[in-house]
């Protein structure tokens, strides 16, 4: 389907209806041995929506979804949208406490998950209805549900779904978006930058619950009537090569850390004949990682910057015009300005804070008025919190305004890692910051030991193990430096920037 004929749609559900009637037999989703056509996808969406209605889910209520990537995520997300509820797509790997916090924050009416997920034990509040996708009773409900469902009418610019992103203290923030946002990012980025068509087969190593993965695997391919390959677990490099080959994927999406891992398993030039383009986002792609990948595969990687708040990428390199080490150029339809701390626009070539405006940006954070006021500025500008330099329309990342940093495309809040470390008896005080390792950021900790403990590789291993027991692996410090004291302000706030500078200074001496 050509983009021109899609211009009339303002509601994403109309697009799915149109695909089901115009290209019903075309494969929408591949997942392991399953192959789901657009007609079947629409039918299952309707069944899911009808089940939600049958258990009393009303329009404007939030429905939390925690699934490994697979067809169920699609059925539940669009099923909820279709009956007027607001889906909240979460990682299947959060802790029970994290699920409880989000269920409470978004005032969820229902929780859909699978028995293997920690979410299955969450939501004990009587008001949250829980459905387990792998429960035989739920499957009976689905089979009996009507395969037709009238779409609940919602204006395209009304809040339709919520994504969660990490806050500076590690508490997740809800980012609401409309269906217009989905359509806008699909047209502007997937259309103008990737030239996506219905002939594409998409595979994203980044998961659906990330804003990046959501666009890659769900919004974009479904908008253009393309096919998506879904992988429920965490793919290894060999899984990725196998999937690209098996499904003849044409577009591959990953974060820089993943390209790095792929390179580390490649023993020489690797021919991936089906791929026409690779995409990277989530953190800055080092120029040398781009160069090595290009040399080994002959494929370009289009690096870009996006955010959960903007739904997807708004600055990107272009095919045939890649500037390694930079985020590239504005995606059509978005505007940016680079400002100093007082909000004044800085001169070209000067570092400043990047602000973005476009029709896919979230209007506020869910239930967080003060954080909304800080980042969602008047006239639709969004403060990204990223320092950038713009020169001849090309944008290059310089760092963060706050202490957050990204590892493998996911935010790391130092506060959260410090909390986990502090519960180890040997840790009297600690501070977490980031350092570069092979061009990519990794967490690094500074520890003041409790009396009676001494610096020792065994102790380092124990503290790392202690963190790994509580937090996802990407948050675990790769290095622990033992120090006599942690630099702080007069009010006792940790000065992580001083630790970063101190570390960089030492590196320069080597």
């Amino acid at each position: 389907m050509k983009e021109e004929s899609m211009e009339s749609f303002s509601n994403f559900l109309e697009i799915l209806d149109s695909h089901a009637s115009r290209r019903g037999n075309k494969t929408a989703l591949y997942c392991n041995a399953e192959q789901i056509s657009y007609a079947k996808l629409n039918e299952n969406i309707n069944r899911f929506g009808n089940v939600l209605k049958s258990i009393g889910i009303k329009p404007d209520r939030q429905v939390v979804l925690a699934f490994p990537d697979g067809p169920a995520s699609f059925y539940a997300f669009f099923g909820a949208l279709k009956c007027g509820a607001r889906p909240v797509l979460l990682s299947p790997d959060l802790s029970r406490n994290e699920y409880d916090a989000i269920l409470l924050d978004c005032n969820a009416a229902a929780l859909l998950t699978v028995t293997s997920c920690e979410a299955a034990g969450a939501g004990m509040q009587a008001s949250v209805k829980k459905l387990l996708f792998d429960d035989p009773n739920f499957n009976l409900l689905l089979q009996r549900a009507d395969a037709h469902l009238e779409t609940y009418f919602r204006p395209a610019d009304e809040i339709s779904f919520i994504q969660y992103t990490s806050g500076s203290t590690g508490n997740p923030k809800g980012v609401p978006h409309s269906q217009r946002d989905m359509i806008f990012s699909a047209r502007q980025y997937a259309g103008h930058i990737l030239n996506m068509t219905d002939e594409d087969v998409v595979f994203s190593a980044s998961k659906l619950f990330f804003g990046y993965g959501f666009g890659n695997s769900m919004t974009f391919p479904l908008y253009y009537g393309a096919s998506t390959v879904l992988f429920p677990g965490r793919p290894t490099p060999s899984d990725v090569f196998q999937i690209i080959q098996q499904y003849s994927a044409t577009l591959f999406f990953a974060v820089p850390t993943f390209y790095h891992m792929l390179i580390k398993t490649m023993e020489g030039p690797t021919f991936l004949p089906s791929l026409r383009l690779c995409v990277s986002a989530g953190e800055a792609l080092p120029a040398h990682t781009y160069g090595i990948w290009k040399k080994l595969t002959k494929l370009e990687i289009l690096d870009g910057i996006g955010s959960t708040e903007a739904l997807h990428i708004f600055i990107s390199n272009r095919q045939g015009d890649v500037h390694p080490g930079s985020s590239g150029f504005l995606v059509p339809g978005y505007e940016t300005k680079i400002v100093d701390e007082s909000g004044m626009t800085v001169r070209e070539g000067k570092q400043g804070l990047l602000q973005v405006r476009g029709k896919s940006t979230a209007p506020f954070y869910w239930n967080k008025p003060s954080e909304s006021a800080k980042n969602m500025l008047p006239d639709g500008w969004l403060n990204t919190g990223d320092y950038y330099i713009e020169k001849e329309s090309c944008y290059t990342y310089q760092g963060r305004q706050d202490d957050l940093f990204k590892v493998g495309g996911a935010w790391v809040s130092p506060v959260r890692v410090e909390e986990a470390m502090r519960s180890h008896p040997a840790v009297f005080e600690c501070a977490v910051t980031s350092r570069k390792m092979e061009g990519l950021l990794q967490p690094m900790a500074y520890v003041v030991l409790s009396p009676g403990y001494q610096e020792d590789p065994d102790l380092t291993r124990q503290i790392r193990g202690h963190v790994l027991n509580q937090l996802p692996g990407y948050m675990c410090p790769v290095q622990i430096n033992y120090v006599a004291q942690i630099p702080k302000t007069r009010t006792g706030k940790i000065q992580r920037f001083r630790l970063r500078k101190q570390f960089e200074g030492k590196k320069e001496e080597l």
């Binding site: 390179i263 580390k264 040398h288 570069k436 092979e438 291993r461 790769v478």
Partner: protein, 80 residues
């Protein structure tokens, strides 16, 4: 400084807590990420190597240290 051997790299792995069963099966000329070393352990091994041999791997490229043999050559080239 004396040149290192594969045993020194194995020692670094033990220091950061790579499991003994993974270490036992390691082949020196096969990428570590294909042999059970994961993306959490590998940067920790690199950080331990930095400390032990006074190196800076901040901007080292991804293709330099993939196998134990490459690790040994990389370190030896820098400690001479």
């Amino acid at each position: 400084m004396k040149e290192i051997t594969a045993a020194a790299v194995i020692d670094l792995m033990k220091k950061v807590g790579v499991e003994e069963k993974v270490i036992k099966k390691l082949k020196n000329d096969v990428p570590l990420l294909k042999q059970g070393i994961d993306s959490i352990d590998l940067p920790a091994i690199l950080a331990a190597a930095e400390k032990q041999y006074d190196l800076d791997l901040s901007d080292c490229t991804a293709d330099k240290v993939k196998t134990i043999d490459e690790f040994v050559s990389f370190i030896n080239a820098r400690i001479k």
